[in-house]
């Protein structure tokens, strides 16, 4: 029963993707966007944040407190 159910679900996805026309160009567009975001922007533009600069929560908190209290 469960096997048949899972087979139906997988067929829904497989056939759905196989028969796509417009969807293929949309998926391509999404893929390009994700590559730009995670392959370029994330690596080169958004390469530094609190998590990459500091290892512990204490260090992060200290950095923020320094910014909150600086004259």
């Amino acid at each position: 029963m469960i096997k048949k159910y899972l087979k139906n679900i997988s067929e829904l996805y497989i056939e759905g993707f196989r028969n796509m026309r417009l969807g293929k160009s949309l998926w391509l567009l999404i893929a390009i966007k994700l590559v730009i975001m995670f392959g370029i922007l994330k690596v080169f533009i958004f390469d530094e944040n609190l998590n990459t600069k500091f290892n512990t929560n204490e260090e992060k908190a200290d950095f923020v407190i320094l910014n909150l209290t600086k004259e």
């Binding site: 139906n8 067929e11 829904l12 996805y13 056939e15 759905g16 993707f17 417009l22 969807g23 160009s25 949309l26 998926w27 567009l29 999404i30 966007k33 994700l34 730009i36 975001m37 922007l41 994330k42 533009i45 958004f46 530094e48 944040n49 609190l50 998590n51 929560n57 992060k60 908190a61 950095f63 923020v64 407190i65 910014n67 909150l68 209290t69």
Partner: protein
């Protein structure tokens, strides 16, 4: 100087991302419900024409969804890099709503989207219909959590500041989740999305009628969209009124900027239209407008639910008004500076292990915490948002919103009279109204976000303090890259969408 430029570039970058993101989201929110209504009619009547109609709009929905699906991720990157202080400060409050949003979006969308697109003739009609409704409800629930987080920034409640971690910690989840500001923000924002979607469907249907193609299906689409648009635009009016009430209560400076109101008064009227004096100075006692048309008493009625109520103006809020028991910004700045100093003293005492000094500083901090953000202002007028931008954006939003109600009413009436195709000019108006829906929504976003400047979190954190100290060159480069990337994506979307629209209804059967 360069630091200021960096903040401004970060602001511009975030505004650009948010504006582009919000070009895609509203259509997703509303079109999903319009499609669900169309499919419900198909299931109820068994008329295959409604299936073609549903499939056509579903494809346009999919294109819009595919383009818009990832722009939000860039905003998350920006929180981490450009707004590190801010995102750390609010991390505990935003964590829960955004995690719920992520889970909901992931499960509902990945599961039922597939059924909605691939499931025709694979699952029962009823199951397909339920999936379509669940996608619509799921996308709107995602928006709920995002807007609750935004509502908290406008009206922070249900939390306590922890001076050890520099984080706002959630004390009461329900107070945050059920914040009246967050709820009304959600209702007003999603409803604006419904109106945009209704205008989108009406505009494209009008184009088909003008071209003499698929007239019956276009008219059927139009009547669903016009009914949906009329109901939701009336609700938009109601939620706008409630927003006005909440803004008066929680962000009186924003309300004063929305109205260009410098000197408050009782029985205050609402400016329907006006031109602000460009050389208006704080406290000069001169009127704000070169000319204006006002509806008497209306602002007092909206803001305080009392036509005799006093509505404070910008100068009342900046300089204070003892008679009305309004505290000046200078006084709040003094309390804010005490809070900032207390936080500094707490940290110094913590380093030396002086527990008594820590307790004293913490007590001082807690007493003045509600004014923390004022401690970062340099002068009292820094608490005033850009008045002209807020004032004109608000008027654009309201005037367009009123026009939409009239348009939906006329279109619905003519559709029911079954002679809309005779009104060619009206049909062209419908086509050209599509972008106006987006303009109204973006204007609303400007009112909400520019109107609350200088605050990243109302009264607690200024935008300048929330920003990371990045080099302005870095932000300029990313701003330019985004502008190019987003514009290219927008052009791609419009091209793909226009291509599908030209194909028409029949090929989607």
């Amino acid at each position: 100087m360069s630091e200021l430029a960096s903040v401004d570039w970060s602001r511009a970058q975030f505004a650009l991302t948010a504006i582009y993101h919000f070009l895609f989201v509203p259509l997703t929110l509303g079109l999903s419900f319009i499609i669900a209504i169309m499919e419900s009619i198909y299931v109820k009547t068994g008329n295959e024409q409604w299936k073609h109609i549903t499939k056509f709009w579903l494809k346009l929905f999919a294109i819009n969804f595919a383009i818009g699906v990832a722009t939000g991720i860039i905003m998350e990157f920006e929180f981490g890099t450009n707004w590190a202080n801010y995102s750390w400060f609010v991390g505990d409050i935003f964590g829960a709503p955004l995690a719920i949003e992520g889970l909901l979006a992931f499960f509902l969308e990945s599961t039922f989207f597939a059924v909605m697109f691939f499931g025709w003739d694979k699952v029962s009609k009823k199951f397909h219909l339920i999936s379509t409704w669940l996608v619509a409800i799921g996308s709107n629930l995602s928006a709920l959590w995002i807007l609750i987080a935004n509502g908290w920034m406008q009206y922070p409640i249900g939390m306590k500041f922890n001076p050890d971690t520099a984080r706002m910690e959630m004390q009461n989840f329900f107070e945050v989740a059920l914040s009246p500001v967050g709820i009304i923000k959600f209702l007003h924002t999603v409803t604006s999305g419904y109106v945009i979607s209704a205008l989108f469907v009406i505009g494209i249907s009008a184009w088909f009628i003008l071209k003499g193609r698929h007239i019956i299906m276009a008219k059927k689409s139009m009547i669903v969209a016009a009914s949906f648009g009329l109901v939701t635009s009336l609700f938009l009016l109601f939620s706008g009124d409630e927003s006005g009430f909440q803004v008066t209560r929680t962000q009186p400076m924003k309300l004063a900027a929305m109205e260009g109101l410098y000197e408050g008064d009782s029985r205050q009227g609402l400016v329907m239209f006006g031109v602000l004096k460009p050389d208006k100075k704080h406290g000069d006692g001169q009127g704000s407008f070169m000319f204006d048309i006002e509806i008497p008493y209306l602002l007092s009625l909206i803001g305080k639910r009392d036509i005799n109520a006093f509505i404070p103006g910008i100068d009342d809020l900046v300089f204070g008004n003892e008679k009305r028991n309004i505290e000046s910004v200078s006084s709040k700045m003094a309390k804010g500076k005490i809070a900032v100093d207390a936080l500094r003293t707490y940290q110094e005492a913590k380093k030396t292990g002086d527990k008594e000094a820590m307790a004293k500083a913490q007590n001082l901090l807690e007493t003045n915490m509600n004014f923390l953000g004022y401690g970062y202002l340099e002068k009292p007028t820094d608490a005033v948002p850009p008045v002209a931008l807020t004032f004109y954006s608000f008027r654009i939003m309201v005037m367009l919103g009123t026009y939409f109600i009239a348009l939906f009413f006329v279109v619905m009436y003519l559709c029911m009279a079954n002679n809309i195709e005779s009104f060619k000019k009206l049909l062209w108006i419908c086509v050209w109204t599509i972008p106006l829906g987006y303009i109204a929504a973006e204007a609303g976003w400007i009112v909400a976000e520019v109107g609350r400047q200088p605050w990243a979190i109302q009264d607690l954190m200024t935008v300048g303090v929330g920003a990371t100290n990045l080099g302005s060159v870095n932000v300029k480069i990313s701003f330019t890259l985004f502008a190019i990337l987003f514009t290219a994506l927008l052009i791609a979307e419009i091209k793909i969408m226009l291509k599908q629209i030209k194909i028409g209804f029949e090929s989607h059967a």
